[in-house]
Symmetry: C2
Subunit: 409 residues, 2 copies
């Protein structure tokens, strides 16, 4: 008997008939002799409707975060109640759990709370009594009993965190794709599904913009060693298993090529080189809640320095204003921004052992006549910033040269 956590997103529970389908799937897993916890999001569109109500109420003002969480958390509560009803109608015991009821304790950072602990005893005792536990994703409760939410997409994190707390055998993430691909199949025609991928690779892919899983949920899975199985809501084929590095048998040099077009670039040029420039630039950005991704610093021979960095495109104009102001204080000759960029990355565990992957990447892009604006690297990843218009060509060329060729060679 295995303990399986299954997570279904908003589209999978988008209406009553779809919730019934999820119930059938859950019951089938139960009838195979497993204990089942099922974690669900709000019905598709529900969170947006609640958000719209808050905006109608508050207009330009920011809704009080505690009350915003109390409002939007009703979305998942509806789903868990309806799904528990549906499972009951199929003749199985089921019980819904809100974030508070399942003991999902978080800090008090409303709308983006962090999980602190899970009192999983309640869930466990109901599982042991044969119930299917239906839990609300996305939500928790703080030490004062206030409802919190983990931020959009937090349901993945809820599912993985509960799987970790219950020491589940697997956390199955159901999506509208059938697994993790070596590249976006709509861009690179030879992109193929990976049977297995390491947490480390998935973490890089997730943070680079692959939409399968939230970064935070992958971190949780990695830290607690929860095996994740990403699979399709529509079929019963195996998807992609996410496992510890040592369990990945096929150590591809490059296991994925991804593209992120949600960032913008800002350059602060010709600043007199002196200690503390980075601090003066990035402190006000941090205070404004703007997350800086890549940072590159160049020294010019005239004793000045250039600082280039990327921010989420949605924060571009705010970030540029701040950079202009700081640039003036630092006597920068030029502060400029560009939001028509793409960050293209290659990720692969094998890069740890293989020299020359970076060189090959740069050569492929040069052959395509694509200019590289920034470069960033980690142990198992190389990212380049290029102009947005060349993004698809870059992904295609890199996939053909580094994934396809490697597999066939």
């Amino acid at each position: 008997m295995a303990l399986i956590v299954q997570k279904f997103g908003g589209t999978s529970v988008g209406d009553i008939e779809r919730i019934r389908n999820v119930a059938r799937r859950v019951v089938a897993t139960k009838e195979e002799g497993n204990q089942v916890v099922v974690c669900v999001s709000a019905m598709a569109g529900e969170t947006n409707n609640l958000d719209a109500l808050a905006r109608e109420m508050c207009g330009e003002a920011h809704p009080e975060p505690r009350e915003f969480d109390a409002l939007v958390s009703t979305g998942e509560q509806k789903t868990i109640a309806l799904l528990a009803m549906a499972i009951k109608l199929l003749g199985h015991e089921a019980r819904s759990f809100t974030g508070a009821q399942m003991g999902m304790k978080t800090d008090s950072s409303h709308t983006r709370a962090r999980i602190q602990s899970i009192d999983s005893e309640g869930l466990r005792s109901h599982l042991d009594r044969g119930s299917i536990c239906v839990i609300a994703g996305f939500q928790g409760v703080d030490s004062e009993g206030s409802i919190t939410t983990l931020g959009r997409g937090g349901s993945d994190t809820s599912a993985v965190a509960v799987a970790a707390a219950l020491e589940a055998d697997v956390c199955e993430i159901y999506t509208d794709v059938d697994g993790v691909y070596t590249a976006d199949p709509r861009v690179a025609e030879h992109a193929r599904k990976l049977d297995r991928i390491s947490f480390e690779e998935m973490l890089e892919l997730a943070s680079l913009g692959a939409k399968v899983l939230q970064t935070r949920s992958v971190k949780f899975a990695m830290r607690y060693g929860v095996p994740i199985h990403v699979r399709s809501s529509f079929g019963s084929d195996e998807g992609t298993w996410m496992v510890p590095e040592e369990d990945v048998m096929e150590r591809l040099v490059v296991s994925g090529v991804t593209c992120n077009v949600n960032e913008a670039k800002i350059r602060v040029s010709n600043v007199p080189d002196q200690p503390g420039i980075a601090v003066r630039l990035f402190t006000p950005l941090g205070e404004a809640g703007i997350v800086v991704d890549m940072i590159v610093q160049n020294f010019a021979s005239d004793g000045t320095t250039d600082m280039t960095f990327t921010v989420p495109r949605s924060d571009f104009s705010r970030a540029l204003d701040i950079a202009m102001k700081v640039g003036e204080e630092l006597q920068s000759a030029l502060v400029e921004g560009d939001d028509a960029i793409a960050k293209v990355s290659i990720v692969g565990l094998g890069m740890k052992d293989h020299a020359g992957v970076a060189t090959k990447m740069f050569q492929v892009l040069a052959d395509e006549n694509i200019n590289i604006q920034m470069i960033g690297t980690s142990e198992i990843k190389i990212s380049v910033v290029i102009e947005e218009d060349s993004a698809d060509a870059a992904v295609r060329a890199l996939h053909a040269a580094l994934v396809d060729d490697a597999a066939s060679g």
Copy 2:
């Protein structure tokens, strides 16, 4: 400084603009120097929508009661979050409380839970810090942490129970009428608003079908001595105060005439008179969850007996089936039902001291040529069952003879 509990129903919070109006009213009360707790229902239509979702899921089957409560309780949760946001926007501190968060402990009778206790410390500490507490009516939590609901209209009970627990100075019930009337003004043109009414009278009126307040909430108010002020959501005039009997200065003989057309009558005739007939008849009705209201038993000279009783009209056909079956066992000559009846009642504290009120009531009805089918009495009430078509005429005649005349005489 007074502590005031205000309760607004679903129509008063039916959309964002109406919630803003409630916020203004609440804030005005706060700015007069009072501590304020505001208890709200789900936005008009919301509970029906949630109910429809459950029915779409379950079809003919009965939705699992625990999950039904989890589902419908999201309605009030939406309202409290939105109202708290609205109050914040007016510059006042506000904090929403679900049933669980406000410590509204109930038994586990889902969909019709009874309040057991209220841990009001949380509310009190936030009141003392200057917050306006926005609480969800209708919902509570049982000892296992499951969400419960008090049944339709339970928001009145929530408000009164919280007022009792906090020893509030008054519980204001906002409605679409401006108080309690001596009769339905649409039926009896001289019906007038009462400035004060005793709990006892209101209890009879509420249970007799006057729609202002739920019976259970009046019982709570009476038991804990919570003064209730029923007033209009639309104006600022005084409405009707509900107070202990000794505080009612004007002891009207008849303070109200009400009419209930939601019952049906069943008669089981010519049963051989023997002990235990009532038990055999009413036990299966009780087991079927059917609440019997009036019961009248007549003995015939031939040694048989007739049993006539009323049930809610919505349970009529089920009740008749049960009565038929029992009637057969009891060798009844005839079991018959009638759902075209009305129960017309007169209520008044003064009836305790005045003889002859009943006689006068029967005379008035006889003068109108209205036949009385059943009679029931209590210390401060007389009810008669008549045919439904004569209901309005009966109310008009009784009001004119027993309320108007008495007031002018």
